[in-house]
Symmetry: D2
Subunit: 424 residues, 4 copies
């Protein structure tokens, strides 16, 4: 844990600068008729879930280079999540992955309570084989040609719901790697029908106050076709399942050049947007830290979300979904949470009345400038003040480094040997 | 017109070789239990519509380099379409574009009858301004913020239906360029709602035995967002309109890397695939000749279509949609029609029982090899025989060149001056 | 022309706010040890060339929707360029396109002098046919199979040099559309050799104090292959020509996902980076306003340029290269110039010593944060102050609109009829 | 090993059909003036190297699903390579990967001799950490900021050369994963300079009759930038090193839409094409079986290679570089070798005189048709005859399955447990 004395000492060093920056920004926003304190309160309402597995060092197809003090189990992971929440005050929930995080529910709840954390959407895993598994997922899971394999995958998802119920979760996210590596390997229509039939079985077991999220991805691990390859297939799935079924969009799961904020808008139109997985990417599903590659794209996604929240009360599950290969995962998750929160606050700054006026007048230049003006506003003082007022750190990264947390856990968590990637 | 004596003379030169090739292929197919003559009959059932405007030389954003003997009007275009049908016997219909092709319906019908041609889907145009137009489409048409502009665009589409009715057409294809060049220029949700409202107005005017096709395209002429940008938005459109509304897929209108045959499969699943526009492309909507860049992709699309036709009686509108910049358009249209027909026949050769067996067994290698085996079969003798038996040319290109048609029309159709592209 | 009284009146309205913002930013930067006034001086050194043709409304392949008061000739264009420079003080040069801008050199010099403008790199045009042209460029220009066509294209480039010499220009930019629409249409190796031979002829005519820029583009107007398709081919060209030959990078001319700032870095390494064309894009060569789609990418390009200027004295030609379809071109060019200047100043704010330390320590997180910190700094007060101190407008767009310039020129420049695009 | 009696029995079943198909094709080619027997002889000259690691089942970032009878070590791998060569007669060489394949050279030579195999280019590995390694490659290898790490990586490459010399290899292929996951993580210019300096050290240790291949890849495992990201950087590397340094092109290592055959052409022009890695892909570096996704692209690559071999005596290293996740690797490698050989023979069928004529005349349509005509020719009888005459199998897959080889090795090679991918 991070001692509050460490946080206070670090904050003390930065308080005066923050005050100055905050006042200057406050004055500037006031001239535009914007109340900075309202934005601070708004920033405090923000929360994004941390994926439990994100606290470990990820790998690529080629190799995995472990870091120091990697979490040994879900309890270590929750300790790390606690650090992130303590310092950023922006990540009040954790998203579990089954079977990786299986443990006694009461122990999980107790550990989470230590940090004021609760549990977000559950994630099932039918893209890997577990040691004790009867049927292999080598050729698919929920859409497999073999009924027994499909039944096993359905059963696993039902178990995830059951575990989630004991933890207070209210949603199940389903992402599968099923697909094909060759034209002809599968009959794409029949495979989709099998997938839908399996999903309907899972849906039957979904409690009334739960939602099920269908997550699409264009490719990987299948390299020719993927069952739920884009938002169109995800939409068909959510439509066929029913009202509790929604679509989840991951920023890195699209074809090159695709306008992702537009997909957000379309799913909002269809009443089927249920969640968003944040990360950043340049090429494929790169799972890089949010806001580090194309920060304006992140802002444009939030521009749609904030707009919809204002007009339709959109209720969305947000999760960070990244793989950290060359950084301390705790640091990367904090940076990501802050960047996502930053875009949320910047999007909240958009003058929507003015924007609507420009849009109605087809004043493309000023409409565009209105968005850029909000994006350009350096809202760091707002974020820092929100953290400060809720017990977090003005500068989470520097405070974390000052705390010596990583060295401390490295001394008790044994070194993990460098496992290879998928390449033999 | 192409004199039948020219065709006969040319065919005579090639008849012996064709017989030899046909017999060899027949023997080979017979060993696989396939009757070559049944394939010839199947090839004869094939037809793809020629777009009237495809007979002119296209241009790019940068320039247009006119060719000799370009058609002056729709009647010249129909003459050119007649040549294509005469020689290939694979293009029995023509698709008109309004207002470019407006003319007295009885004159159109008479001219078409000369060549045994009929009229396929009508195409509206609200992506360009016409000289006498009250409202400009600079900032959109069916989705414009201004009600009068939307009404004008709706009215134009209704007129297209009316014209089509007088010509025996049974479908309207709607593609619009509406979108935005800047983030923020339009509210993407409200813009889509305006689009849907306009489409519903058009749908009201659709005769009972007509279909309306929604055609998507990822970008161009709008470069940040497009109202109907992908098959998901197209599907939402068709779903909201009703049973007579279907989606049309154009091979060149997708993001890079997208699996197009999978979109075909998904729309078939949804009961919403209505048509396909053929061409080929390497980068964007390049509108190159069908089958000249990625012939296997064309085959894989047909593999889905033939499969669905066999199992569900899929009834699809097919059209060539290309722009010919460096070739004689008549030659390119003939090549395209033949390549599309080739893929159709090759896909008809797939041993679907064997394929299903491999798929059920997850024998990815043999499933894939089954498709490649069909694709690898050189079905040219089947295509040539089908043409020969229906009065066409064994070698349409060489026969066309021998006929001197281009030089002949060049002598009566005045030379068009080289207009620039959109670049000033 | 924009009356200085208009500028002064507009500036007066915004002076107090600017002072407040400037002081707040100055205080903040001072805490980091950065002198804001030095940055203002640095901003004043910035200049980017305006392309003469950018002052007209562009079009797409589908249509061109003309705007009011479009320039009739190069003198109108220079008037518009004068407005841009007067208000932004960031565009002291104009880049001409031949033959579009052919006129008496002394008249051009006189008109430019009116606004304190001078002439940047010359641009040749062998991608369109001119009315009086002996050989057509339909199948290529500098790389054409026909020697007479190549000679004509070489001659045109030599004429551009000659005109440029009379105007004080010191560079020739060569971009050609030569390529192919079909595999096999050209022999790619021999075509490249013909191109190089032609370029060598042009190079022979290059004055000693001139440079020739080779500009690559992945596709369009050719849709299968392009002679100078990427920086590799551009580099080979510059290497074979000699020391006066350099490469020019246009932000929109790359394959999807390509890391453009890395190309900048590699060409700097090779000693062959000569110029950069600014714009923005999401899909292809969209030619959208600079900094409106991916502002961070623009910053990252400048991060490389500023770094290289500091260490190696890189001397680069900068030009805006955009097509404005839905905005007033003067407004778009001003926005672009400002966004480019913004990225330049932000990149100048990067703490390069700290960055180098993080890089040497493989502290990826802090290295990345260092760049983001500079990018996040809202340097608008610096840009506005630089404009104010050099006679420009604090807010160029609002000042331009207040001036009524567009309405004024629309009253004397006749309305241009809406020409179609390349689509027939 | 595959008993020759098995091969003979299988061939006997197919001999009559092959004769019939061969004669029919021979007659058809004869009418075009092509001697089928010359093509059979040409097919026999073909050889592509099998990568030793390709005989194991690959994995993705997400999981690895092992197959039955996976090779335990390089000797098992050589047994599998022996099967491939015995049946296809198209893979006379094996490419080793160090340290995976380290063993006593005389044992390796003895085992290879058993199957008539020899050793192709050596592959170094500095993208993974080995258990006993002093310096980690987490942040790079040949381009690492730390001199000791670079020295270790150089040393490893020199060892690869040494091993290769003892095995009769004549080339070293260098591919590194060095790059960055964040803008700013590395100084791209200095990183490249460090890479070049390391490569020069390796080059110094290169025997006179060896070549060193620089292999580029756009991304993965680094997701923001990669040191040798494209052929431009690879070319700079080969140029700076010297005459023995060449570029190697892998089909899956490019940005979307890139014209790969054009890169082949440009490197041939530069005198720097040294090798080609075959596979196929739809999205990224998918490493799918050659010729199964875009067979025409494979043909177009060969079209350039065959053309260059004819005119300039190009001497190229060919290797299959794939990862087999859902098939028996031996089967996939045989299919790939055959598809690569097929494209080679088809490209050899192109009538280059006719093609040159069409190109010189800008008859794009017939030039394109000339390539398609060669591609459409089903050369399977030529390939099968070449195999038959050299002791291989008419149908390698069916013969392999009939042999029971996989079951046989599965009984002696222990089952590998399913390792996870890089994802924690």
């Amino acid at each position: 844990m991070i001692e509050s004395s460490v946080i206070e000492a670090q904050n003390a060093k930065r308080a005066a600068d923050l005050d100055a920056d905050f006042d200057a920004l406050g004055a500037k926003l006031a001239r535009r008729g914007v109340d900075i304190n309202a934005l601070v309160e708004r920033a405090k309402t923000f929360g994004v879930a941390v994926p439990s597995w994100g606290t470990g060092t990820g790998g690529t197809r080629f190799a995995r280079f472990p870091g120091a003090g990697e979490p040994r189990d879900i309890f270590d992971k929750l300790d790390d999540c606690g650090v992130i929440q303590t310092l950023t005050q922006a990540t009040p929930t954790v998203s579990l992955h089954i079977p990786w995080d299986k443990a006694d529910p009461s122990d999980l709840l107790a550990k989470a309570a230590q940090y004021g954390l609760s549990f977000d959407a559950m994630n099932s895993n039918t893209f890997q084989d577990q040691p004790d598994q009867a049927q292999s997922y080598k050729f698919g899971s929920l859409s497999h040609t073999d009924a027994a394999t499909r039944a096993q995958a359905v059963e696993h998802n039902l178990e995830c719901i059951e575990i989630g119920q004991s933890l207070g979760s209210k949603a199940l996210t389903v992402w599968i790697g099923d697909g094909a590596n060759f034209p002809g390997q599968t009959h794409m229509g029949r495979q989709f029908e099998r997938y839908l039939a399996s999903m309907k079985e899972i849906y039957k077991g979904l409690p009334d106050d739960w939602r099920i999220f269908s997550e699409h991805k264009i490719y990987e691990p299948a390299f020719y076709s993927t069952v739920v390859q884009d938002w169109g297939s995800s939409l068909l799935t959510a439509q066929e399942l029913g009202d509790k079924a929604m679509c989840l969009v991951d920023l890195g799961h699209h074809a090159p050049n695709v306008n992702i904020e537009m997909i957000v808008s379309r799913l909002i139109h269809a009443g089927k947007l249920g969640g968003f997985h944040f990360n950043d990417s340049k090429y494929g599903d790169d799972d890089l830290d949010s806001g580090t590659i194309e920060p304006y794209r992140l802002f444009l996604v939030w521009n749609e979300l904030v707009d919809a929240q204002a007009t339709s009360g959109l209720d969305l599950a947000h999760m960070i979904d990244q793989s950290h290969n060359v950084t301390d995962p705790i640091e990367s998750l904090m940076i990501s949470a802050i960047e996502i929160q930053r875009a949320f606050v910047q999007a909240s700054l958009v003058d929507r009345d003015a924007l609507k006026g420009y849009q109605d007048d087809n004043d493309a230049l000023m409409a565009s400038a209105t968005l850029r003006g909000a994006f350009r506003t350096d809202v760091e003082p707002i974020l820092a003040r929100a953290r400060l007022e809720t017990g977090g750190a003005i500068d989470p990264i520097m405070t974390y480094r000052a705390s010596g947390y990583r060295a401390q856990v490295a001394s008790v968590r044994p070194k993990v040997s460098g496992a290879g990637g998928g390449i033999v």
